[in-house]
């Protein structure tokens, strides 16, 4: 790995990162493509350079390291599959919103802004509850004990 290759990979990673942090899906895809290139530079750079890795293929000098090449080759093909899938996403986004912008998750924004409403934690009043005797509301002290104990059972959290 020469300084030149390291710098090339670093440059590709920097530009790719910058693009991936955007909101436009097509820029993100281009960013991912550049990141893939950077990774391939790292991989190929990690192996020894030389002539093509073909046994008895003629030529002078040592063979290039074949393993990083094999890894990079599959990486190239896989990144094509990824790109196709992401482009399909962009296409679908365009169909639905006329744009390929990745929006913030509306649900998450709601949670961040106000949290779960407190009512969601309690079980609501339940008409079918046999313990829910209206006479309990007369306010005498013996009644309140019972009412409170029933409440303890009735107020457990109900998830959203």
């Amino acid at each position: 790995m020469s300084v030149l290759l390291a710098a090339t990979a670093a440059g590709l990673f920097a530009v790719g990162t910058y693009l991936v942090l955007q909101r436009k899906l097509s820029r993100i895809i281009i960013g991912l493509g550049l990141l893939g290139h950077g990774a391939n530079v790292l991989m190929v750079g990690a192996g020894r350079a030389g002539r093509a890795a073909i046994v008895d293929g003629g030529g002078e000098g040592a063979l290039a390291d074949p393993l990083p090449q094999a890894l990079a080759l599959t990486a190239i093909v896989i990144s094509f599959g990824t790109t196709a899938l992401l482009l399909a996403l962009a296409y679908r986004s365009w169909l639905l919103t006329d744009d390929d912008e990745v929006q913030d998750d509306v649900e998450d924004e709601l949670v961040a802004r106000r949290g779960l409403p407190d009512e969601d934690l309690r079980g609501g009043p339940d008409p079918s509850d046999p313990d829910d005797d209206p006479d309990d509301d007369t306010g005498d002290d013996t009644g309140r004990g019972s009412h409170r104990a029933t409440d303890a059972g009735g107020t457990a959290g109900e998830g959203r």
Binding site: G11, I54, T83, D108, D141
Partner: protein, 954 residues
């Protein structure tokens, strides 16, 4: 024993599943299983009670030392008998309680049987992990039974509370069990741990955790609030789980551990303290209830506290007394629950202010009420009295510190018990109601509601008059827990002494407390100021939710750039920091390396940076392609012939696909980002770039050993049968990897087609019929003239390129090429066809659909992996054939070629599918756009829902 447990499981599941069809036999069937257990116990209990446990073992996870070990000793006999005997009675009672053939009946009975099995397993388990498993099963069945009326919010909330509390305790129990097992030298066998108790800090912590688990299950302060809540369950459930059996699981565990560990410094203060507090709190709360069932629930809490105290002390006397109390409590408390259930069933209320005096036909239950309440209060000649007096005697004789204080506290709590027992009888017999607000006496209950309660009350009386009948069982408890040899002497009359005096005091004070109920109520009303357990639970749950909201708001902002930025920054900063803090720098490597690299690297960087900088989509895509071609140049310089070929073909295809999609999107990116956001992005990008640079240099300097690929080069020809080492690695040495990767490709292809096609608008009827005029004509647009020159040229070139791609496939094993490269070259040929004639020409290429080609390729590759397995070899094991063929000369072939052919087909299928996704005629799309405009302006919102377009016929 295993067979009995399995019978519970099978019958329980069967009833849950088919209970609705089998209503007539459901009750007998459900009762048969616990009845069989009772019979088995009657036959086999002799040995365990005499101190000779019956054991049974099935290997489960031998490597972890966890086995399905079951052990029936005297202590287990008491609980197993309780579980099964009560099971029979409760199932019979449930048959009378529930409407015959009611929808939930089979489910309820089945769950009761499942619970009985879980509880039986819990008391029989001799392996701590198995015990924990059954413990959790009882929690789950209890959850389902409390929430059996799942339409009710209250029932669901109560079930959830019980589940949260008991399973949280279950987790504590598990942690404690693991700690104890480790401290005991890695054995989880309960009997071994207890026979040779470990010591040390780990044991202490483990014991505390086990005790906490037991407290949650047995509703001890401060975890008791779930038990009153659980009273929303039908009465058979309350009688069985929440008074007689399940809540005693915690008591059982404490009883098991106490004799061996009572001398650990924290055990007695913790367990006895919590038990005493629970006794008092439960008694006080019970005195304030008007709901008879809640009164019993708080009474149960108080009694459970009593058992925890007695078992927790762990002396030879007190564990025997605790065994008596367990038995006595099950007899009187379950009977009282059944009385409340009968009232509720016949009357529709169980509030003591609305219960009328018992009418005609209620005499048996009146007697049951009086007898059982009196037993609970400790009236002589009933079994409750025997148990309580023996407990007093045991505490009096106790050889442990603060025995006097414990005895005093128990006496105070017993006064409360006597008072609420009286209050219960007073309320249940209709003396607590306001005369004017009470209606007619209810109709008498059916035999199903009466007989089980009467049998329990009869036992209370019989054992109260002749307690010697219980000596064997109770003595068995002593033998099992403390090794006591002499059987206890149980008698209705112990003679004059302190216990008798205390009993008299308790009864008198209890009556006094009851009679003075008006002033007492005013004092107890002050208790409102203390938050109840239920309020504490609710508060804790709410705080937890608020905390979760805050964490979520920060951690889950919903913004993709934020997520990506955090991930990338972390991935860059952490390893770099670790590296810089360490001592890994090996010095600078060569600056340039092979000379040709300079030009290509500069080109890659320039094109890459330009692709990031431009604001037009097309330009960016083309610049990305240019960077890719420059990468191919780099590969050539480094000696990667296959790589360069693949890169060029892929880059061509990628560019074509980009163009296909981008023609729909606006030409320019509209940049709306703030300067601040831009600065952050630049900073993250610079960080990542720097990290990659540093780590690349560092990793480059670390290479010391021989590359693994040296071996691969040496073995390529003899083992792989090919001279192109890269290809041999792909299809042979690391073939399974390749198999996984092509599977990913297939998934990506299917995904992109699904996404693209699902989003299409429905077409107008007739306008796009593929058998009719061409889409362009139907759309009314001008038909583009096809240039003959281009058509002919493309056809010639297409054939040539396809032949070339097949050559690459076959040659790949020995020369640059292979399945990936060949497939992509063929794909490039398809792209050429598309340029000349659009999607229709592409569809005309092959009779097979794109997905058939894709799937066929995947299948072929997979077969190559699997077939050698069928022939007794390793997956992907290569076979080789050589033959002299006419015309072709000497031909060598390996089975890896078939694998590579699969890859080839798959890549071709992928390309075809990409065109199928995005390659629609733009004129047709323009037409679809027009449709869209019409829909948008006039149609109902439902028209916006994407619909799947019918696959065009061919």
């Amino acid at each position: 024993m295993t067979a009995l447990l399995a019978a519970h499981l099978v019958v329980g599941l069967g009833l849950v599943a088919w209970g609705r069809q089998a209503t007539r036999v459901a009750v007998p069937l459900a009762a048969a299983v616990p009845a069989a257990t009772v019979a088995w116990l009657a036959v086999r209990a002799g040995d365990p009670l005499a101190g000779r446990p019956v054991t049974e073992e099935v290997a489960w996870v031998p490597r972890l030392g966890v086995d399905m070990a079951l052990r029936l000793d005297g202590f287990a006999v008491l609980f197993a008998g309780l579980v099964s005997g009560m099971g029979v009675l409760v199932v019979a009672y449930a048959g009378g309680y529930l409407a015959r053939g009611g929808a939930g009946q089979g489910r309820l009975l089945g769950l009761l049987v499942l619970f009985a099995g879980s509880m039986l397993g819990l008391v029989l388990a001799d392996d701590l992990v198995v015990l924990f498993g059954f413990w959790e099963l009882t929690s789950v069945t209890s959850f389902l039974l409390i929430g059996i009326e799942h339409q009710s919010v209250t029932a669901r909330a109560a079930a959830l509370q019980a589940l949260l509390v008991t399973t949280a305790g279950g987790l504590a129990l598990l942690a404690g069990v693991v700690l104890l097992g480790q401290a005991a030298g890695g054995t989880f066998r309960l009997s071994e741990v207890l026979a040779d108790p470990p010591g040390g800090t780990a044991t202490t912590v483990g014991l505390v955790l086990v005790a906490v688990g037991a407290f949650t299950k047995s509703a001890q302060v401060p975890f008791h609030a779930w038990l009153p809540g659980a009273m929303v369950a039908p009465t058979p459930v309350s009688a069985y789980l929440h008074s007689a059996t399940m809540v005693k699981a915690g008591v059982y565990v404490i009883g098991r551990f106490a004799p061996a560990f009572a001398t650990v410094w924290i055990w007695r203060p913790l367990v006895v303290g919590v038990g005493l507090a629970t006794m008092v709190v439960g008694g006080l709360r019970a005195l304030r209830q008007t709901d008879l069932k809640l009164l019993l629930a708080f009474g149960t809490i108080s009694q459970l506290g009593f058992m925890v105290v007695l078992f927790g002390l762990g002396t030879a006397d007190t564990v025997v007394d605790a065994g008596e109390l367990v038995l006595a409590h099950a007899l009187f408390k379950a009977a009282l629950f059944m009385v409340v259930g009968a009232l509720d069933h016949q009357l529709g209320t169980r509030d003591l202010r609305h219960v009328p005096r018992p009418g005609r036909g209620w005499a048996p239950l009146t007697v049951v009420t009086v007898v059982s309440s009196a037993s609970m209060a400790g009236v002589p000649l009933l079994f409750g009295f025997v148990a309580k007096e023996d407990a007093f005697a045991g505490l009096e004789a106790g050889r442990f510190a603060e025995a006097g204080a414990v005895l005093a506290a128990v006496v105070v709590a017993s006064v409360l018990t006597a008072a609420y027992s009286l209050r219960f009888a007073w309320g249940a017999l209709g003396y607590g109601a306001d005369r004017s607000s009470v209606g007619e006496a209810p109709p008498p209950p059916g035999p199903g509601l009466v007989v089980p309660a009467v049998s329990l009350a009869t036992l209370t009386v019989v054992l109260g008059v002749a307690p010697a009948l219980a000596e064997d069982v109770v003595g068995g408890v002593g033998r099992a827990l403390s090794g006591a040899v002499a059987p206890p002497h149980l008698a209705p009359w112990h003679g004059l002494g302190l216990p008798l005096v205390l009993s008299a005091v308790v009864l008198a004070a209890g009556v006094g407390l009851f009679l003075a109920r008006s002033p007492v109520d005013r004092v107890l009303a002050l208790g409102h100021r203390v938050p109840s357990g239920g309020e504490v639970y609710l508060l804790a749950l709410r705080r937890l939710n608020v905390l979760a909201d805050r964490v979520t708001a920060v951690a889950q902002s919903g913004s993709l750039p934020v997520y990506t930025g955090v991930i990338l920054t972390t991935a860059a900063v952490l390893p770099t920091a670790a590296f810089l803090l360490g001592d890994g720098w090996q010095g600078w490597p060569a600056v340039v390396g092979p000379a040709g690299q300079v030009v290509v690297c500069v080109a890659v960087l320039v094109f890459g940076a330009a692709a990031g900088a431009v604001h037009r989509r097309f330009s960016a895509a083309l610049l990305l392609g240019a960077a890719g071609y420059a990468m191919a140049g780099l590969f050539v310089v480094r000696g990667g012939a296959d790589l360069a070929l693949t890169q060029v073909a892929i880059e061509t295809l990628t560019t074509v696909v980009f163009v296909l999609v981008l023609r729909r999107l606006p030409d320019r990116f509209e940049s709306r980002s703030s300067p601040g956001g831009r600065a952050v992005r630049l900073a993250v990008a610079a960080t990542v770039g720097t990290a990659v640079f540093v780590l690349a240099l560092a990793a480059g300097g670390q290479r010391a050993g021989t590359p693994v690929s040296a071996d691969m080069v040496a073995r390529a020809v003899p083992d792989g049968g090919g001279r192109n080492v890269v290809n041999v690695i792909l299809v042979d040495f690391r073939g399974i990897d390749t198999m996984g990767e092509v599977t990913v490709l297939a998934a990506a292809a299917i995904g992109s087609v699904a996404l693209a096609r699902a989003g299409r608008r429905p077409r107008r009827t007739g306008s796009d019929d593929p058998t009719g005029p061409s889409p362009a004509e139907a759309a009314g647009g001008p038909r583009l003239r096809r240039l003959v020159v281009v058509d002919v040229a493309v056809r010639v070139v297409f054939s040539a390129v396809v032949v070339g791609s097949i050559y690459l496939l076959f040659a790949g094993h020995n020369q640059p090429g292979g399945g990936f490269v060949g497939g992509i070259v063929a794909g490039a040929a398809v792209a050429l066809l598309y340029v000349a004639g659009g999607i229709d020409d592409v569809r005309r290429v092959s009779r097979a659909r794109p997905w058939t080609v894709l799937g066929g390729g995947l299948l072929l590759s997979a077969l190559t992996v699997v077939v050698p397995l069928a022939l007794g070899g390793a997956p992907l094991e290569a076979a080789r054939w050589e033959a002299d063929l006419w015309l072709l000369g000497h031909v060598k072939a390996t089975s890896a070629l078939a694998f590579d052919a699969g890859v080839y087909l798959l890549v071709v299928g992928l390309v075809l599918m990409v065109f199928e996704s995005f390659g629609d005629d733009p004129r047709r799309l323009a037409h679809a756009d027009a449709d869209r405009a019409v829909h948008d302006s006039t149609a109902a919102p439902s028209a916006h829902l994407p619909e799947v377009e019918e696959v065009p016929g061919r």
